[in-house]
């Protein structure tokens, strides 16, 4: 197997806060690796360390065999990095931005046009428009084009879909999937749980640590608890009732319904249903369902939290 990024015992602290706390992971050639977690969980800090933009306090990072502290110049030749906030030149046009970034790498728009063709074709009608006047989705497409135009071996994307509408999000992900054909490895960070399922492998981040790192299917497969979807007319009353039944049962709102988590050999669902029936809150239905990544994340967080307590 061909390892592109190797992260070993990486720790990074700012003043007294620990942004990244002893993280290990490795990324394999040609995969899309997702760093999934909320704001401030250490995703951006890790990406910046891999991009050689900041130095770790301890631990080691190898990118395509290069050390991120000593050989940072070699790393910068082979990566494409897209920072979190939109940071192209707002007063340059779409085409001017792209030309500028191609020239930086001694390349031009034509050479690697096939890489960006799918998304840049959406932008081409606006190529004389200044980047600052594009919509959020368009800006992200342009930024992605600019970080791809030199055909990097490793693409680092920091929250490329934050604040982007669903249609542009779908386009961006389609494009990322296609890059695998060109042998480009991608590390992408996202706060959206539903995007985790689109990655080949993910690491779930919380408070600077990795809760779990695996493929989405494996993570869901490891979920051994019983998960019930609880539908009712009034989520608030049902939630209260379920909490009354058992103080330490894990139940939470999930979109339109509630999710109730029981231990894997807990057979108490009948008792619960019976109890709820007597609560006079109307019809409540229970359905055993497959967990999502978000359910897995919640359970992992819950277990970690109770470990700390």
């Amino acid at each position: 197997m061909n390892t592109v990024v190797e992260v070993e015992n990486i720790t990074k602290t700012y003043n007294t806060t620990c942004a990244v706390d002893n993280i290990n992971l490795s990324v394999i050639k040609g995969e899309i690796f997702g760093l999934v977690g909320p704001d401030g969980s250490g995703k951006t800090t890790l990406i910046r360390m891999i991009a050689s933009l900041i130095k770790q306090n301890s631990g080691k990072i190898k990118v395509l065999g290069f050390d991120n502290v000593k050989d940072y110049k070699s790393i910068r030749k082979v990566i494409g990095y897209m920072p979190g906030k939109f940071s192209l030149y707002q007063d340059l046009t779409v085409e001017e931005n792209l030309t500028l970034f191609a020239t930086i790498y001694d390349s031009d728009i034509r050479t690697n046009y096939h890489l960006i063709e799918d998304i840049y074709s959406h932008l081409e009608p606006f190529k004389d428009r200044q980047a600052g006047k594009l919509s959020g989705g368009m800006k992200q497409k342009l930024a992605l084009s600019c970080s791809l135009i030199h055909k990097p071996e490793l693409l680092l994307l920091d929250e490329p879909t934050t604040g982007v509408d669903p249609v542009s999000r779908r386009d961006l992900w389609k494009m990322l999937k296609k890059l695998i054909n060109f042998g480009i490895t991608t590390i992408v960070s996202t706060p959206y749980m539903d995007e985790a399922a689109l990655c080949d492998r993910i690491a779930l981040f919380q408070n600077g640590r990795i809760l779990e790192s695996n493929s989405p299917n494996e993570i869901i497969g490891k979920y051994e608890n019983l998960l019930y979807k609880v539908k009712s007319y009034n989520n608030y009353l049902t939630l209260q009732a379920l909490r009354r039944f058992s103080n330490d049962s894990l139940v939470y709102p999930f979109g339109e319904s509630l999710h109730l988590v029981l231990e894997k050999n807990d057979s108490g669902i009948d008792l619960i249903q019976e109890y709820i029936k007597k609560q006079n809150i109307g019809l409540v239905s229970f359905e055993l369902i497959q967990p999502t990544i978000e359910d897995a994340f919640i359970l992992l967080m819950q277990t970690k939290n109770s470990e700390i307590l």
Binding site: L53, Y89, D91, L92, L100
Partner: protein
């Protein structure tokens, strides 16, 4: 080289598309020179005065008309009684009152002495002083000629380099100094911190680009704008205000170029220590513009400052440049006369560039 060209091109686009800033940068020399030249001036022109003539004889009216005709004063008020004097001053229009004692002419012929009293509004002491001196010499001259009285001694004053005591000779060099600081240091600092603030620096840093290229590409457009502004000031100064460049134009431009490079390096240094445009602006304004204006010998003479403050002015590059530019422009000094000051400027360049390079980070932290 192609990369460098692209970067310079990009900087020009930034400047070109920001029309408001560009207009300000290019029109500033003209606006400032006109402001300083016409509005803000120490020269006396048509100062409003009052005359209180208790004598009303032929001589006093001759003296009065002589004073008024000099062009320095304008008769604004004829005062008729002692009570009016205070009122006239309180109204604030009148800067000075000339009072002739009664029987002025006959006193002068009989006793060979007569009194004129000059009362002036000294809320602005410099102006009051100048007005009084002008009036005194006008009266003395007139009496001397009229009565052919030759005084026992004669003071011969010569105003060298600026015979007509023109303010423009002072403010043209001063303006060049200030503008160079503004464009060189402030604009460069702002433009570099902007890259950090918008995050585009992150892109550039993670590329194989040589960071010095990013920086030097940024300096070129501002260098050109600064040169353009100098030329505008020099042309306006010579054509409109009659400043004559005594020394070598080539030397003058060379020294200006050195000073621009100094301010660009200073701007660079500011950008390496400021996290945001706001900080850069504060440092430039408070830390650069104020000392440049106050301590560079432009408005307040360094030689009148207390010793410790004079010592501090040594660290203000503008102070050395002010000496250089005055010497070359007004005194016709050659490089030999200003070699010390030039070396100081060169020293500042080395210092600021060195510190910037030392401070410049290839990373974010």
């Amino acid at each position: 080289m192609k990369k460098f060209r692209v970067f310079v091109w990009k900087e020009f686009i930034h400047i070109w598309r920001d029309k408001r800033t560009l207009t300000i940068l290019l029109s500033m020399p003209a606006i400032l020179i006109i402001l300083f030249g016409f509005a803000i001036t120490n020269e006396i022109n048509d100062a409003p005065i009052g005359i209180y003539d208790k004598s009303k004889d032929e001589l006093t009216s001759k003296i009065t008309s002589n004073i008024i005709n000099s062009g320095y004063f304008k008769l604004e008020e004829i005062i008729k009684s002692d009570d009016e004097i205070i009122d006239v001053f309180k109204k604030g229009r009148i800067k000075m009152i000339i009072i002739y004692e009664s029987d002025f002419e006959s006193n002068l012929t009989k006793f060979n002495t007569a009194n004129i009293q000059i009362i002036s509004d000294a809320t602005d002491p410099n102006v009051a002083n100048t007005l009084v001196n002008y009036a005194k010499s006008l009266v003395n001259n007139f009496i001397m000629i009229e009565y052919n009285i030759s005084p026992n001694f004669k003071i011969d004053v010569k105003m060298r380099y600026n015979t007509e005591m023109k303010g423009s000779f002072l403010f043209v060099p001063g303006l060049i100094t200030i503008l160079m600081m503004l464009i060189g240091a402030m604009m460069t600092a702002l433009s570099l911190t902007r890259e950090h603030e918008f995050g585009s620096m992150e892109y550039l840093l993670t590329s194989p680009l040589n960071s010095y290229m990013i920086i030097f590409a940024k300096l070129i457009p501002y260098l050109l704008i600064a040169l353009f502004d100098i030329i505008v000031i020099l042309i306006l100064g010579t054509v409109v205000f009659g400043v004559i460049i005594q020394g070598s134009l080539l030397l003058l431009m060379f020294e200006c170029l050195l000073f621009i490079i100094m301010s660009l390096s200073l701007g660079l240094l500011i950008s390496t220590v400021s996290k945001s445009q706001q900080v850069a602006l504060m440092i430039s304004l408070m830390g650069l513009m104020l000392p440049t204006i106050l301590l560079s010998d432009f408005i307040f003479p360094v030689s009148n400052m207390p010793q410790w403050l004079q010592f501090i002015t040594n660290f203000i590059p503008a102070r050395w440049f002010n000496t250089i530019i005055k010497s070359v422009m007004l005194k016709g000094a050659g490089i030999g006369n200003i070699i010390n000051e030039t070396l100081y400027i060169c020293g500042f360049i080395v210092l600021f560039l060195g510190l910037s390079i030392f401070n410049f980070k290839e990373r974010l932290d």
